[in-house]
């Protein structure tokens, strides 16, 4: 079964978060990224693939090499992802407040 790749899955992993932090600082080749970690190149390359699939990283051809860039637009999406949850509670609490302002004790 093909795993669904999304931004939230991507940042759940500490190695992937470390890769984002590295690449956010400067665009890097896959081997330069892999050198920063103890894990095997294959493992790091899998992580890079996941980050690219969910658009947190962008590829750019530079001569014979591929450079990976960080995509800040996608990160903004993560910052925004709690907004619907916040609105859900805000709606509930607005309702609670309006309701209790009109509240008259029975008896």
């Amino acid at each position: 079964m093909e795993l669904r790749r999304d931004v939230f899955q991507a940042i759940a992993d500490p190695t992937r978060r470390a890769i984002i932090a590295l690449v956010a600082f400067q665009a890097m080749t896959p081997s330069a990224i892999a050198e920063q970690f103890d894990s095997s190149r294959q493992t790091i390359s899998k992580h890079i693939q996941i980050l690219t699939e969910c658009e947190l990283l962008k590829q750019e051809q530079s001569g014979r090499e591929i450079l990976y860039h960080f995509n800040p637009k996608k990160m903004k999406e993560i910052a925004d992802f709690i907004e619907p949850f916040r609105e859900l509670w805000d709606d509930r609490f607005n309702k609670l407040e309006a309701m209790m302002k009109k509240y008259k004790p029975k008896k």
Binding site: F8, I11, A12, P14, R17, I78, F81, I82, P84, F85, R86, E87, L88, W89, D90, D91, R92, F93, K95, L96, E97, M99, M100, K101, Y103
Partner: protein
Amino acid sequence: MERKTKVNAQEGKHDITITREFELPVELLFKAHVEPELFEEWMSHEYGKTKVLKFDTKKHGSWLFHTTDASGNVVFQANGTIHDFVENRKITRTFEMDNTPFDVQLEFLEFEALTEDTSKLTMHVIYRSVELRDQHLKMPFEWGMNLAHNRLQEIVTKLKLQP
């Protein structure tokens, strides 16, 4: 006075804090959390009606509620137990959604009087893992999508029934 609901969720952590200030005396804010009819009202919305099945609001008590759609189908059910209960001050409870992959979460609700007529609620919610927390935070999206899917399903079913 800050009347906006705030959600504090730090990256990589497995808890969140929801805070909100109300133009209500703390007694009324608390009442809305413990009286079944009141709770049902503010937890219902246009596409789902909340019904309390059990609301034993005391230490070692338990609770159960569900939400039904317009046709009366149960679309959401949640339950939990109450661990600590201090009138107008504090409710410590667990919260578990039935038939979902989410594990139980621990909730600390603190009620605070700011003035005679204003109050503050602080909800500290602890999840089993960072992943579960993030999935739960995303749920309004997915829930909305499921509702849209259900509506689509309804339309398609109706179309099929037509000769």
